[in-house]
Amino acid sequence: MTRRFSLGAVTVVTFLGLWELLGRTDALGDHALPPFLATASALGRAVAAAEFWMAAGHTAVQWALGLAGAMLVAIPLGLFLGLGRLRHRVTRSTIDFLRTIPPVMLLPLFVLVWGTGLKMVVLLAIYAAVWPMLTQTITGVRQIDQATMDTAAIFKISAWRRFWRVLLPAVSPFITSGVRVSAVISLFIAIVCELVAGSPGIGQLLAQAQLGGDTALMWGLILVTGVLGVLINTVFKTAESQLLAWHPAYAKGQ
């Protein structure tokens, strides 16, 4: 554990040192990459202002609503579509078509209909985040073994228990991995909306920094979104391993 930690620390320090060096020598030209220390101090100044935290709050709310909304749509719909062979076959090609359209392509349309406020961002985030969870949930239901369902039938397990204690746990590894992917997508969409359509949030700050020629702050905000992504992934992975302690993939000491 400590060994892994110190190895990680060495990598980070080397990376930041390299950044500092490239920044000082202006390796990218046009002062496109300021040194790390300049970036850090620009970010430090931004973080001290209330404006940053307002923006971060907007991004967080849009991300959370986008993910939660997508979960409310994708998980029940995925269970419903996965449980019927006909339903699955009829909808499969439509789903495969829709999920390959880059959600950002729909941004102009969404702005036209809903403006640039929170509502638009959340709806687009929901749209984009639905697909991984939906396809994962459907796959999860389809892979449930006949023997599992036969067992429930033989022992006359009630529909209620069959759903909560057989179906849902059997699909849960698929759902959680879908949620983890969707969480990052929802953040991505929120920031893109802010950046391109000017919805309030970290992305909007980034756009403003760009207009003001403040490259150091731009890099600082890029760093912030990267850290947010890693944080979300870590939190969901930890929750997943707690929830799926029974699963062989999460077995301790094996």
Binding site: T148, A153, I154, F155, I157, R161, H247, P248, A251
Partner: protein
């Protein structure tokens, strides 16, 4: 032990419902998959009767329709024609007094529940107090020798132990009939022999009627009071062989009996003859 009295009273009421009928009656059962011209007939005209407390083994080559027959008996599959009676009542969906042990224990046990919870799960549907349930689960885990493993997940146990859990779960359900679908097919020979004796012991302890499907002729002859030989396409009952070894049976002495070889040979000949006809 209050749980004992309640359990036996449950069994009594079931048996009183139809005192004279056999535990299981199959009459003229046939099963086809698919429709009209594309229909593939798997079972044809199966008629068998199993008495209370009897141990009947069903053998036949792979693909002979053994599993289809068992699924029809358990009410998971509707026969195309013919009828299945359990304790005198026509089967229309899985009957209350019947439990099944499947071949694939790793999928039949629920991996997200610990051993005790797996055994307890079907009992949640019965009108039992929590204390009664816990007592019954404990008793059944003891019967299969897994008391110490109650708090483990199934994946932490060997295949043989997992199948013991499935047997404990089936018996805790208090069936009068236990169907077993090639339960030991994926276990090694040593474990299989152990579990065969566990099943014989449990049959004596709980007085349950057992229908045991297997492709292993030695296993069928060792375990069964009678061996039903299925063969042909579609499968029919080509022979019902009476097995009359002294009880209790023993892996060494029973299998060394001259009658064991004779009966084994008879069953084998039957299966081979049927194969040559087609």
């Amino acid at each position: 032990m209050t749980s004992f009295t309640t359990e036996s009273s449950i069994m009594d009421t079931v048996q009183e419902a139809a005192p004279s009928s056999p535990a299981l009656e199959v009459s003229r059962l046939a099963k086809s998959y698919g429709k009209r011209e594309a229909a593939k007939q798997v079972l044809a005209d199966i008629t068998v009767s199993v008495a209370r407390g009897e141990f009947v083994c069903v053998v036949g080559p792979s693909g002979a329709g053994k599993t289809t027959l068992l699924r029809c008996l358990s009410g998971l599959l509707e026969p195309t024609t013919g009828e299945v009676l359990v304790n005198g009542h026509a089967v229309d969906g899985p009957p209350d007094e019947l439990a099944v042990v499947f071949q694939d224990y790793s999928r039949s046990l629920l991996p997200w529940m610990k051993v005790a919870a797996n055994v307890e799960f079907p009992l949640l549907e019965k009108k039992m107090s929590k204390a009664e349930r816990k007592a019954l689960v404990g008793q059944m885990l003891e019967a299969v020798g897994l008391t110490q493993h109650a708090g483990k997940y199934p994946r932490e146990l060997s295949g043989g132990m997992q199948q013991r859990v499935a047997i404990a779960r089936a018996l805790a359900y208090r069936p009068t009939i236990l169907l077993m679908d090639e339960p030991f097919a994926s276990l090694d020979a040593q474990t299989r022999a152990e579990l065969e004796d566990v099943v014989l012991q449990l049959r004596d302890d709980f007085g349950v009627t057992i229908v045991f499907v297997t492709h292993d002729i030695d296993e069928a002859v060792y375990l069964g009071d009678r061996v039903v030989v299925l063969s042909g396409t579609p499968a029919t009952v080509s022979e019902i062989v009476e097995v009359c070894f002294p009880t209790p049976r023993d892996q060494v002495t029973t299998k060394a009996l001259p009658e064991f070889g004779a009966i084994r040979g008879e069953v084998l000949t039957r299966i081979r003859d049927a194969k040559q006809q087609y």
